[in-house]
């Protein structure tokens, strides 16, 4: 299988879907002539022309709202937010209009729109550009939220997202764009709402998603090698719909749970997971669920300190060892 970057995997998914369905239009700031702020859409304008790959002004409320309106008429816009952090200026469009219009119309309308872009810290761009809003988005019934960690997952999930008839918010990661992974040349789809066990283990379950999957896998390797601990890493891939069954199966196997997420702790995705695990698998747990989150403050600029504010392999390792020590 060819080894390609996460960035290329997203690009290939876009290209294949533009080619497959005349209604798919890629839009966003700098996606066409500039070839993408993060080069995700590089070459798409040259290949598909300005009707299918469209540069927008810096006007998120306007163009995201426009995409939602167009989707009501059957267009399938794939809108790029240069950073998901900019969702705040289009909040009303995303979470009042896209999320609610089906419900408020009694099911007469649906919005087959995808909004995608990076949502992560770690690039020293400060608090305004480092938001991870998957919990905020997923708090709105009517929307779907996907956070892929690998090139393979990004491609298969994005193709499914574009074909989905509900609004799908697809959260990528600038720190992952250059990460390579094996991606088959033949077409494949990954259904939304299906978790993936990225590493099998028996002593501890780490539930995670996005870039934190990589940190967790790195920590798991050390835990096995240096501490003789067998760690299972469950990558959620999709936040809503949520594959809680795969999580519960793993919990029943390991009886210990560590959640690792690049979220602020208050009302995070992990908080929701913790509720569900204790509610549905209380007797399987040997001890309290622990979690590693972003340290609870706005994203700090200072480069070496930001690394410590975010989940990283060392923080995961430390938390895992504390958890195991507390349940022995």
């Amino acid at each position: 299988m060819p080894l390609i970057t996460y960035r290329e995997a997203v690009r290939h998914a876009l290209a294949e879907e533009i080619e497959r369905d005349r209604n798919v239009v890629v839009m966003g700031e700098e996606v066409a002539q500039f070839n993408g702020a993060y080069k995700v859409t590089e070459g798409l304008l040259a290949r598909f022309g300005p009707d299918r790959v469209v540069d927008t002004p810096i006007s998120e409320a306007g163009f995201i709202g426009m995409g939602i309106g167009a989707s009501m008429l059957g267009i399938r816009p794939v809108m790029e937010l240069m950073f998901w952090s900019f969702y705040s200026v289009a909040f009303d469009q995303i979470l009042n209009n896209a999320a609610n219009v089906r419900y408020m119309s009694g099911g007469q309308i649906h919005c087959p729109i995808v909004i995608r872009g990076p949502a992560n810290g770690g690039t020293n761009v400060g608090a305004t550009h480092s938001h991870t809003p998957e919990n905020v988005l997923a708090n709105h019934p009517g929307v779907k939220v996907v956070v892929p960690a690998t090139a393979y997952d990004a491609k298969g999930l994005l193709k499914s997202a574009i074909r989905d008839n509900d609004p799908v918010f697809f959260l990528e990661n600038t720190m992952l764009y250059g990460e390579k992974g094996e991606v088959p040349t033949e077409e494949y789809l990954i259904p939304l709402g299906l978790a993936d066990v990225k590493r099998q283990g028996t002593d501890l379950t780490i539930v995670t998603y996005g870039r934190s999957v990589l940190h967790s896998l790195a920590a798991a390797a050390v835990l096995e090698k240096e501490h003789d601990l067998s760690v299972e890493v469950v990558d959620l891939r999709s936040i809503r719909p949520l594959d809680i069954d795969t999580v519960l199966t793993s919990v029943a196997k390991t009886h210990r749970v560590l959640i690792v997420e690049e979220q602020k702790p208050f009302a995070s995705v992990g908080a929701q997971l913790t509720y569900m695990i204790q509610r549905e698998a209380f007797d399987e747990l040997d001890g309290p669920i622990h979690r590693v989150t972003t340290v609870d403050a706005p994203a700090i600029y200072s480069p070496p300190v930001e690394t410590e504010q975010l989940p990283n392999p060392q923080r995961v390792l430390k938390a895992a060892l504390e958890l195991v020590a507390g349940t022995e």
Binding site: F63, S71, D92, Y103, S105, Q108, A195
Partner: protein, 365 residues
């Protein structure tokens, strides 16, 4: 009348040319007798529906807000009467008039107000959220100005599909100060999208007069985006049609967006929760009712044309009252949605399980 006193309104009065007879404009002169009566009937049906819904509200049959369209009937009826098969409409929360104007039946509209399962949105949307995509009516939106980018999206869809049509994106005069409206203006003008932005200027954004909320002339802001703009008298249905026909044609034929400000007036408060005793005088309202009522104005016109007679007018009114009463009876007799219905119509996939592709839980407890 002290509702608005913009410079241009005064200027217009000074240099008023010979008044145009809008009945002779092609879009009106070609109307058949039956079509004219139908336009009149639609306005009367809106008014009687609104009056009946107010009574239902006072009888506590309706919850939440109720933003009545009484006084503005000629705007929605005039604009929507020009719709072709590829024309689309979206509006804000004062949406009953548009819903009736595009042809929705009164029964599901009233049932929606009553929160019943037979409502046009199954009792899930309420007064502010009427929809009927089968009639190219895309709501009914609650956030001031938030629907305007969606309207531009409708225009984008029309153009992308190569259809000859236009979107009408309605807003109140209060919406012009929202950022989303200006972003929508820019996109429409930049990309030549077939949309007419319609400002229904009733003079008050809730309880704040135009003079206290908006700098400059409202429609003129379109100039900043190189869009043509117009203003017309929304108390005269013929004038509304004449004006809108021009801008809809520009949109359909040349993908030229525009902004049209239609001068109108609401007789009731912003919503029924507005006691309407702080920001305008009873005399002002009375003056509008007496001299500018859109139904009376058009009725007089049709009487003069010999299209209507007193007996027909009375019959239309009696029918409209009966229809509104029937709608209220229908709403009253209809069942409420059940708690099982709460989680339906949230996800397309959940409502179409046979075609569901995703896995996992969509709903949480």
């Amino acid at each position: 009348m002290s509702k608005k006193s913009t410079a241009s309104a005064e200027k217009k009065a000074e240099s008023a040319p010979a008044a145009t007879d809008y009945s002779r404009v092609a879009v009106n002169s070609r109307l058949s007798r039956e079509e004219k009566i139908e336009l009149h009937r639609k306005m009367v049906r809106i008014r009687r529906f609104e009056e009946r819904s107010l009574r239902a509200y006072q009888a506590k049959k309706i919850g939440g807000f109720l933003h009545l369209y009484i006084g503005q009937e000629a705007v929605a009826v005039g604009c929507c009467s020009l719709m072709g098969p590829n024309d689309h409409v979206i509006t804000a929360y004062r949406d009953h008039g548009h819903a009736i104007a595009v042809g929705m039946d009164l029964n599901p509209l009233m049932a929606e107000l009553y929160g019943k399962a037979t409502g046009c949105s199954k009792g899930k949307g309420g007064s502010m959220h009427y929809f009927d995509p089968s009639r190219n009516f895309w709501g009914g939106h609650g956030i001031v100005g938030g629907q305007i980018p969606l309207g531009v999206g409708l225009a984008y869809g029309i153009k992308y599909k190569g259809l000859k049509g236009a979107a009408m994106a309605f807003m109140g005069d209060g919406a012009v100060n929202q950022g989303a409206v200006h972003e929508a203006y820019n996109l429409a003008a930049l990309w030549k999208l077939p949309v007419v932005f319609v400002i229904e200027n009733n003079g008050y954004s809730m309880g704040t007069s135009q003079a206290r909320s908006s700098a400059g002339e409202l429609a003129k802001r379109a100039e900043g985006y190189d869009m043509p703009w117009g203003q017309c008298n929304g108390h005269d249905l013929y004038e509304v049609r004449a004006c809108m026909d021009k801008y809809l044609t520009l949109a359909r034929e040349k993908h030229q967006p525009s902004t049209v400000e239609i001068d109108t007036y609401r007789y009731r408060g912003h919503s029924v929760a507005d006691p309407d005793n702080t920001y305008r005088s009873k005399q002002e309202i009375e003056e509008y009712r007496r001299t500018k009522d859109p139904i009376q104005v058009f009725q007089q016109e049709l009487l003069a044309e010999g299209v209507l007679d007193e007996a027909t007018i009375e019959k239309i009114d009696a029918q409209a009252r009966a229809e509104a009463d029937t709608a209220a009876d229908f709403a009253e007799a209809s069942p409420f949605p059940t708690t099982d219905d709460i989680q339906k119509d949230v996800y397309w996939e959940a409502d179409n399980p046979a075609e569901r592709k995703s896995k996992g839980r969509l709903f949480f407890d």
